[in-house]
């Protein structure tokens, strides 16, 4: 019995080897994933962009008036990148303004666990509250790229600011230079890390993880070179739109709809 089994096993292996090397496999591989992948392309035409840099001009828009502070974006982000605890590529802040115009902001664990409790101990009645998600601003003039001593962090021609983790020396200068505090040193790799607007997903036609999971569409991502895109329309319609810390002169590509003066 055993001998026969062995023979069958060997036979099977041989068969599989033949199949893998042969044309059958090729056709099989073409059919199944191709259909599977086509369904998944959230940014049309991205898979056909074969050049080093895309010809697109990506923009990220966060709608403060829509955000419900559920923290799904933070959960997705942590899962996508296995971000170590107490470090945040993205986070959600809660702003509370009382009727004496005092501003109270908090962001327990970066909003990763959601907001489960009302803020306690506030002396006056609340006038207004809202949530502000934060992430990399993808500056036109990024301070981090300017100061990186070894050229480990850089800006691509299509606007992404990325960190080469094989070259980063973890001097933390970029962390000091970033006006938005979006960077941290990953304690596992000992390199600087930050939000990339999910460059690897975007290049494969997927939306950034946080955009993809946002249940209320408060995070929007798109191409400003395309005048039919949602982001182009938002930025060219009469909305209240601003960027964070415009005085810094970094010219972020991250825009906020309904940004309030209390937000820093």
């Amino acid at each position: 019995m055993n001998d026969i089994r062995k023979e069958i096993e060997q036979d099977r292996r041989g068969f599989i080897k033949k199949v893998l090397g042969g044309t059958i496999a090729g056709s099989l591989l073409l059919v199944i994933p191709a259909t599977a992948e086509r369904v998944l392309e959230e940014i049309p035409g991205m898979r056909d962009e074969k050049s080093v840099f895309t010809r697109r001009q990506f923009a990220f828009i966060v709608d403060i008036t829509a955000c419900i502070g559920c923290g799904s974006c933070c959960v997705a982000d942590k899962a996508e990148y296995n971000v170590p605890d107490h470090n945040y590529r993205t986070w959600v802040e809660r702003y509370i303004i009382d009727d004496h115009d005092n501003v109270y902001v908090d962001s327990p664990n970066g909003g990763l666990d959601g907001y489960t409790k009302a803020r306690e101990g506030l002396p006056y009645p609340t006038r207004d509250t809202f949530f502000v998600p934060k992430l990399c601003n993808m500056c036109e003039k990024p301070s981090c790229v300017q100061v990186c001593p070894v050229g480990a962090t850089y800006k691509t021609d299509d606007g992404f600011v990325l960190v080469d983790k094989t070259r980063c020396v973890a001097c933390s200068y970029c962390i000091q230079a970033c006006p938005y505090s979006v960077r941290f040193i990953n304690p596992n790799t000992q390199t600087a890390e930050k939000c990339t607007w999910c460059y690897h997903r975007v290049r494969k036609g997927l939306l950034p993880a946080c955009v993809s999971v946002c249940p209320v569409h408060a995070r929007k991502f798109g191409d400003l070179a395309d005048k039919n895109s949602e982001v182009w329309k938002i930025l060219h319609e009469p909305h209240v739109i601003s960027v964070l810390k415009p005085d810094m002169g970094n010219e972020p590509a991250l825009h906020y709809v309904g940004l309030r003066r209390e937000v820093v």
């Binding site: 990148y81 009302a118 990325l162 993880a209 946002c214």
Partner: protein, 183 residues
């Protein structure tokens, strides 16, 4: 003093200059040897990193990716008010379940209070900052008291988590039918 010296008066300076030239040439050779290959290809960075960045593994997929296999739930989830809720926020990342087309692990299905906890991330009334028009707010335990159910009820006992109004609407329909029959 040292009249017997055989060295020329400036030989030390000449030696030093030669040593510096040798050092400079050596430095250039070392620089050439250790320079990352694609450095400066597109800018002051290692050009090959673009490819490395592209190849970072994707761990989160879309709801559509889940629905390719999980067909029964697809109909319910896609038509209900929770259609914009991501599968992976409650169940975990796709990458923990499927990697390179193969199943690598099971994703947890949340139970009881865990479910309530997840629901309250969005629907908790005590967090005032939420725009009311886009989402329904629920205060606990008032909601349970109002609906006259036990206070340890979890959300999923009345609400189908993938389409919270599914059973409610079905029940209303049934009641409606009854009421119509009465008339």
């Amino acid at each position: 003093m040292h009249k017997e010296s055989k060295s020329k008066y400036n030989s030390h300076l000449i030696k030093l200059i030669i040593a510096m030239i040798v050092f400079g040439v050596l430095a250039l050779v070392v620089r050439h040897l250790f320079m990352p290959e694609s450095m400066g290809q597109y800018g002051h960075y290692r050009g090959a990193d673009i490819e490395d960045q592209k190849n970072v593994a994707i761990r989160l997929q879309t709801n559509e990716s889940c629905f390719q296999c999980h067909k029964p739930i697809r109909k319910i989830h896609k038509t209900g008010v929770h259609r914009t809720v991501s599968c992976e926020i409650c169940h975990g990342p796709y990458g923990d379940h499927i990697t390179e087309g193969k199943k690598v692990g099971d994703l947890p299905v949340k139970q009881k209070q865990e479910i309530t906890h997840l629901c309250l991330r969005c629907h908790n009334k005590v967090i005032q900052a939420r725009p009311r028009e886009s989402i329904k707010m629920v205060g606990l335990p008032e909601h349970l008291e109002q609906k006259k159910v036990r206070l340890d009820h979890t959300c999923d006992q009345c609400h189908m988590v993938h389409d919270p109004l599914l059973w409610i609407n079905q029940a209303k329909e049934m009641i409606g039918i009854k009421e119509e029959n009465k008339r």
